[in-house]
């Protein structure tokens, strides 16, 4: 990924994206990639991309950081033969103990995807009552493995891509809104009115990953910032969270980051006592929640 293209895109999207984090020497040597190692944001992207490049699963390119992820790598390298996923399996981990309800993630998401203020909250944050008092729950799309929304779509406008992200192709969407009423997480939204097309985008730029230009009369939703993922960048909400309450990772390589730290996904889920929202619905979400009352 060239720096130019990323800044161009950042400018398109109206997002402030800092490229100036210094990249410390040796951040990626074998000892460096301890779960608690502090990495720069940029370094992590490259690292995550590199791990996958080595594993031969991604088109992302990047430098090798792989020594540190030996186990995961080996697993993926053998993966194709063993029938393991040959593409990324993106996951999000949300630490409810850290979220203070500042809604910076919502702001970043809305400005990046050009969403109207009053209706579309692709990531939403609300207050809930738990056994240990109130807490805030950020709710992106759960990117369910068994997504009711894709099942009910009459024309296949909504689908799951190779990385497990549920996308909407607004060129096909007829606007019946069946997916919206079927989503147990209320994570789908509708372009009721004419959307504004960002100045630098034309209809030809549209991809379901980019979600823009939006189209009136079609459904929109959180796509884990699939456009950023293609450039080895973290979703905007994860980047913007001042509490580092949002983690983003990849399942096959078993890594996760909040933008500063890198951990093994499995370890974070286990030590944090992760659960999934409405597990009983059988939707198999790819978003995990660490409970709020853990005293972090």
């Amino acid at each position: 990924m060239s720096a130019t293209s990323s800044t161009d895109l950042a400018r398109f999207l109206g997002v402030e994206y800092s490229e100036d984090d210094p990249e410390p020497e040796g951040a990626f040597d074998a000892d460096g990639l301890h779960p608690a190692t502090v990495l720069t944001r940029r370094a992590f992207f490259r690292g995550l991309a590199g791990a996958m490049a080595v594993a031969g699963v991604a088109k992302l390119g990047g430098t090798a950081v792989a020594h540190a992820m030996t186990d995961a790598e080996a697993a993926v390298a053998d993966g194709s033969a063993a029938g393991l996923p040959t593409a990324e399996r993106w996951v999000m981990v949300i630490d409810l103990a850290k979220c203070d309800g500042c809604k910076q993630c919502m702001v970043a998401c809305k400005s990046a995807h050009n969403l109207p203020d009053d209706d579309q909250h692709w990531i939403d944050v609300w207050e809930e009552q738990g056994p240990q008092g109130t807490f805030f729950r950020p709710r992106p799309c759960m990117q369910c493995d068994n997504s009711p929304c894709t099942t009910v779509c009459p024309v296949g406008a909504t689908y799951t891509n190779d990385s497990g992200i549920v996308l909407v192709d607004n060129r096909k969407c007829i606007g019946c809104r069946m997916c919206m009423v079927a989503c147990p997480y209320d994570a789908r939204y509708f372009w009721w009115n004419e959307p504004e097309t960002p100045a630098h985008l034309s209809e030809a730029d549209y991809t379901p990953e980019l979600t823009m230009p939006a189209r009136r009369g079609t459904v929109g939703k959180c796509v884990f910032c699939a456009d950023y993922l293609q450039q080895s960048r973290l979703p905007r909400c994860v980047q913007q969270c001042p509490q580092n309450a949002l983690w983003f990772g990849e399942k096959t390589t078993d890594v996760v980051t909040d933008g500063e730290q890198v951990q093994r996904l499995s370890e974070l889920l286990e030590t944090g006592g992760a659960t999934r929202y409405k597990e009983e619905k059988g939707t198999e979400p790819k978003v995990f929640y660490l409970p709020h009352g853990r005293g972090v």
Binding site: H121, P154, G175, C176, M178, A182, R215
Partner: protein
């Protein structure tokens, strides 16, 4: 030779319509035009002109859709079921019932593009990319089959009557004559043709019943197969089917009362017919009440958190007025009007039917709106109130339905003449042999 039946049944065709007729036509056409205007506004500005939001993405259009598909059951029940059980008294009212079926299905079909975000893209997408696992595709397949079947079921038994219109046409020229001639399909009334007619009606009457049941089940499954509390109910399909026949029967009563009054069709639509339909209405009413009770009783008895909010909204909250209107005025009062001997007459049963129809529209509102308003997450709490656009389109749907009836009765006999004559022949035979025919 002109039979007595023919004389009465064909009178509206030859008469010049009166002032009341034109006033009605103009009023209904105005409703339709206003609705079309509202729809154009919606097409230009988007569904943002409705009261819908991402929290409540479905509203009045969907309510109307279920309601009109429901009404369409009328023809199926009365024509097909009563035909199969050889209920002779059905004969004068079958045509009205069949027209109700076709016209309300057409109106229901209009509600689909009215609700879609991209109605002009939808036909092509549905034609090229329809996926069998979507409830909406089941609906498309089964409802279009149903509409096609209902259309044949209306047109085939009209053939002998249309031939008579063709043969008795005073000039044998003009558009009206050509319509009759085309639709009469070279009917001569020979034995072979009669045999074929009876045979095809027999086959249609049997096949249209499962099609109709499937049609409304598919509508119910749009809601039933979602993981949404209250909607995700195993009894929705039969519940919808019974509700459909219930409201459809009520609509037949209303239209019969209107025709009877307008054209002095007392000979055909006798008080006996109203009373019999009243009994059918009562039976369906009781079954529907039973389903309703069963539905809310089983949900309400548990303390499942996600069911409590929609249930509270329905029973005692924002939508309680609609629910209790539907229960008291839409079910209990109509039941009483049929049960009590003082109101078991044309006036009483027609009043009951009007209440049933209003109640059933509200019941559909109760099914669609409250479970959406209360949401499935705390992030999706919202209230929904329809805007003038949605009401205008709804008014147009109603106006369109009435307009179809106004036009139909000017063009075609609203009573199936040959069936009624057939009935009279049978009655004569029965009288001579001392048997009673037709209950």
């Amino acid at each position: 030779m002109v039979s007595a039946v023919e004389q009465v049944a064909m009178r509206p065709l030859g008469e010049r319509p009166g002032r009341v007729y034109w006033a009605l036509v103009i009023a209904m056409a105005a409703l339709v035009l206003f609705g079309v205007f509202a729809w154009i506004v919606q097409l230009r500005q988007g569904l943002g002109v409705t009261g819908l939001s991402s929290s409540v993405p479905w509203g009045v259009y969907i309510v109307n859709f279920i309601f009109f598909v429901g009404i369409s059951y009328a023809g199926t029940l009365l024509s097909a079921v009563l035909r199969l059980v050889h209920a002779g008294w059905r004969r004068p009212i079958t045509r009205v019932a069949e027209v109700v079926t076709v016209s309300s299905l057409l109106i229901a079909a209009v509600m689909i593009p009215a609700d879609l975000g991209r109605p002009f893209v939808a036909p092509w997408q549905m034609a090229t990319s329809a996926r069998g696992q979507s409830p909406l595709v089941w609906d498309m397949v089964v409802l279009s089959t149903y509409l096609f079947a209902a259309l044949i079921f209306l047109l085939i038994p009209m053939i002998p009557d249309l031939a008579r219109c063709r043969d008795t046409h005073p000039t044998g020229r003009g558009l009206r004559y050509r319509i009759y001639r085309a639709m009469a399909a070279s009917w001569e009334g020979n034995t072979r043709q009669w045999k074929r007619l009876e045979r095809s009606m027999g086959i249609l009457a049997i096949t249209i019943i499962p099609v109709a049941i499937l049609a409304h089940s598919a509508v119910a499954w749009i809601f039933g197969v979602t993981p949404r509390p209250v909607w995700n109910s195993t009894i929705f399909a039969p519940y919808f089917v019974v509700g459909a026949v219930f409201s459809g029967t009520a609509v037949i009563v209303i239209i019969m009362a209107a025709y009877r009054r307008a054209f002095s069709l007392h000979v055909f639509f006798t008080e006996g017919h109203f009373v019999r339909l009243g009994y059918i209405l009562l039976t369906l009413n009781l079954v529907y009440m039973y389903f309703t009770f069963s539905e809310y009783w089983t949900i309400g008895y548990t303390v499942q958190a996600d069911y409590q909010a929609p249930l509270a909204a329905i029973l005692s909250g924002a939508h309680a007025w609609a629910f209790w209107f539907a229960i008291v005025l839409g079910m209990l009062v109509p039941a009483a009007l049929v049960v009590l001997p003082w109101t078991r007459n044309v006036g009483g049963i027609t009043t009951a039917s009007v209440l049933v129809v209003v109640g059933m529209w509200l019941k559909r509102w109760i099914i669609v709106v409250p479970p959406l308003e209360t949401g499935m997450t705390p992030g999706s709490l919202a209230t929904y109130s329809p805007t003038w656009v949605e009401w205008a389109v709804t008014g147009a749907a109603l106006g369109g339905l009435v307009l179809i009836f106004l036009i139909f009765q000017r063009l075609f006999p609203v009573v199936s003449m040959w069936e009624v004559e057939h009935d009279e022949d049978e009655a004569e035979v029965a009288e001579t042999s001392g048997q009673e025919v037709g209950a």
